[in-house]
């Protein structure tokens, strides 16, 4: 019996999709330049069905690509032609909320935003807020260790997850809890991109909803002055809830789109939000406005009420589609850099922009150093996608050169495999492959993603070898 026949036989009706039309929404995730039709899509509704699907796939040695909502931006859920997609969207129940302990137990397909919606009556919320939060799933958030605009103060997904339940290809159920003693497997699974196990349950930390939030918006006549102002805010001991910078192109695009009064003459714009108790927010807002004025802000606006605060965010929150209106396609990068190098990095990106003859807009999570350059291109122009990807890879190399990393929150997926060869030496890549082997000796969970083969790194000319000696010399190289 074929794997598809066996899956159909073992699982309830409607759990297995294999005709081309129905499979087409699963051909890609948020990185839509890459597409592949999977052999089939399996949509289990509970843990037992996940186990059944994994058992059958193992029997047939068929790769399993786990998928949440498919909003990932790095191709982590890109199917394989000879693999199945394990879509967890039917497992979308909030299993338990404990308002006193401030925790929620969730199935992996629960959408991020619906956690906050469900616990709002208790005055609580779930802090990580990736921009895709209306659609993305909590299981996917854990797999990618997703961020958001409030990471500096409230952390990434890994900081807000208390426990997860994972199933491996052998059908073992592993409960990994923050309370466990010894090496931190819970931390390891966060951001493991579906290579180490299938996440079937997540317990998250809930936080008390702040009494209030206030936004200070400031324009600057140079990127450097804006970055220096952020430095001063942080040095003064204030940790804003949100700290966003935009360059001139982004300001112009966002203002044209949202019409909220962004200062068009400014070279850089800073949005700085504080939240918490009424007393604390009042004090912090005043201090921030003073610091930004002293740091040479050319314009300052302080939100006077909730409506104004939300309105001022509209430009930034729509920056991507706003920039997207200037070009048929855009490619969003995700490097991180030390903030003190921002002015230099933007200058170098401008040089690259001229070299590749492609425009670029920059938005920056200034608090945590996460830079999102948006490269504008036209996929219908022959060769332009390839040029864009080369441009993107050069930006990531630049981020590494100044002491940053190739991905702050989007993950590696298939997109940044080559850049991984720049960031890590052979020895570390070997360790990553060996870790994968410990969790998944079948190698069937999301193969080929997140960690490049040494062969691939050798081809891109980035194999780092210490003292001309390969570690694990006993291993075969392909």
């Amino acid at each position: 019996m074929s794997v598809i026949q066996q899956l159909i036989k073992a699982l309830p009706q409607d759990r297995v999709i294999f005709d081309t039309e129905q499979c087409s929404p699963y051909e890609c995730d948020g990185l839509s330049a890459y597409r592949e039709k999977p052999m089939a899509v399996v949509l289990p509704a509970n843990v037992e069905e996940v186990k059944t699907a994994l058992r059958i796939c193992k029997e047939h040695q068929v790769p399993v690509i786990t998928r949440g909502s498919g909003t990932g931006l790095a191709g982590g859920a890109l199917p394989l032609a000879d693999g199945i997609v394990l879509g967890l969207s039917k497992m979308n129940q909030i299993l338990h909320v404990d308002p006193l302990a401030r925790t929620a137990v969730l199935q992996p397909g629960v959408r991020n935003i619906s956690v906050t919606q469900a616990v709002e009556p208790y005055g609580l919320y779930y802090a990580p807020d990736p921009s895709s939060q209306v659609a993305c799933s909590i299981g996917g958030n854990v797999a990618e260790n997703s961020g958001g605009v409030h990471c500096l103060k409230y952390g990434l997904t890994v900081h807000n997850v208390l426990s997860i339940t994972v199933i491996n290809m052998n059908g073992d159920i592993l409960v990994l809890d923050e309370k466990d003693d010894g090496v931190d497997l819970l931390a390891l699974l966060n951001g493991s991109e579906g290579l180490l196990g299938v996440i079937v349950e997540v317990k998250v930390k809930l936080l008390p909803k702040p009494d209030t939030a206030q936004l200070v918006m400031a324009g600057f006549d140079s990127v450097g002055a804006c970055a220096d102002a952020v430095t001063t805010v942080l040095e003064q001991g204030i940790i804003p809830a949100g700290l966003e910078m935009m360059d001139k192109f982004s300001i112009m695009a966002a203002e044209e789109y949202a019409k909220v009064g962004y200062p068009l003459e400014a070279e850089a714009l800073l949005l700085c939000e504080v939240d918490g108790s009424f007393d604390q927010v009042k004090v912090d807002t005043r201090r921030i406005a003073d610091i930004l004025t002293q740091s040479g802000a050319t314009t300052i606006t302080v939100s006077q009420n909730e409506a104004e605060r939300i309105a001022l965010w509209q430009g930034r929150k729509n920056a991507f589609p706003a920039v997207g209106r200037f070009s048929p396609d855009y490619y969003c990068m995700d490097g991180t850099i030390p903030r003190k190098r921002l002015a230099y990095v933007l200058q170098e990106i401008e040089k690259l922009s001229q070299k590749y003859q492609l425009e670029v807009a920059n938005v920056f999570h200034a608090g945590d150093g996460n830079l999102h350059p948006l490269i504008l291109y036209d996929a219908n122009q022959p060769g332009q996608l390839e040029q864009t990807e080369k441009f993107g890879a050069e930006i990531l190399k630049l981020c590494l050169d100044v002491g940053g990393t190739i991905t702050g929150e989007h993950g590696v997926g298939v997109e940044k495999l080559d850049s991984m060869c720049h960031q890590f030496d052979t020895a570390e890549l070997e360790i990553f492959h060996a870790i994968k082997q410990v969790f998944d000796d079948t190698g069937l969970l999301n193969p080929g993603k997140a960690v490049p083969t040494l062969h691939r790194c050798a081809e891109v000319g980035q194999m780092h070898v210490h003292n001309n000696q390969l570690p694990f010399p006993e291993l075969e190289r392909f």
Binding site: L185, A187, K209
Partner: protein, 318 residues
Amino acid sequence: MADVFTQQLSEQIQQAVSEKRTLQVVGNNSKVPLSEGVETVELSKNSGIVSYEPSELVVTVKSGTKLTDLSAALAERKQMLAFEPPDYGDSTIGGTYACALTGPSRPFRGVLRDFVLGTKMMDGRGQSLTFGGQMIKNVAGYDVSRMMAGSKGSMAVITELSLKVMPLVEEVTYCRAMPEAEAIVLMNQMAGTTLPLSGCAYYEGRFYYRVFGEHPKQDATPCSNDVWLTLNPFQPKLQPNQKLWRVDTEGPAPSIPNTLAVGMCGQRRWVLSDEAPAPYSTLWQSYFAPRHNDTDPISNIKTGLKQVFDPHNVFKNL
């Protein structure tokens, strides 16, 4: 180029591997009594701050640096380690990381590994490895830097750590006498409000809580901040036959007999008992030794991971 310390460490490890000896990693020896005749990897001389960028909220430090020295350097720039590491007397940052120790602020600010951004380590082949970096956001590769927190020197020698630091805050402690069960509910109710809490505990008949920054007038007695040092590290005088357990629970978990102290907003109890009083109980007298129960799939994974980093079993499993 590797520095002299790294070079010598690599040679020591390779030598031990070739002679089939085992090594015990030691910082300032503040937690584990050393057994006679054991060969050690000494990290106390591997100390000092490598780089410190207050405005980037990042410090990079060698693993043998004393907590007191690190905290003093941070305090000079009005910053701190927000996970409030317990100091057993000249404890090092490396030893604190190896044992994954977090203080009373845990429910409000997070655990030690939440503040780990990157590590340099040397594995059981004598090979230098770097994971993570100095960035607050970084999702490239598996998060080995955070995974290793709690590995207790059994997998690799941690040589350098990059940590996220936070602004130093002024804190005040309040207390109130009340029954334990009531205090546990109250502390969890308070933690669900925007009162800026950084500690909640129950000790010797009193509910203690600690607040920072701007906050409304409290209906409780201000008292000394010293109670947090009593609880962190908690080192009660024990009779030779008494067993002290660290029990981690959900916040408002029911009471356990013979509880000496309740910390971390009810999430941690210190209990005298002959047997493990609840799930997630650790016999404290033997906490600092790595443990393996070789039956369940999770222990198999832990054993597998040890093999990845230390294939020749050169690092001692006490």
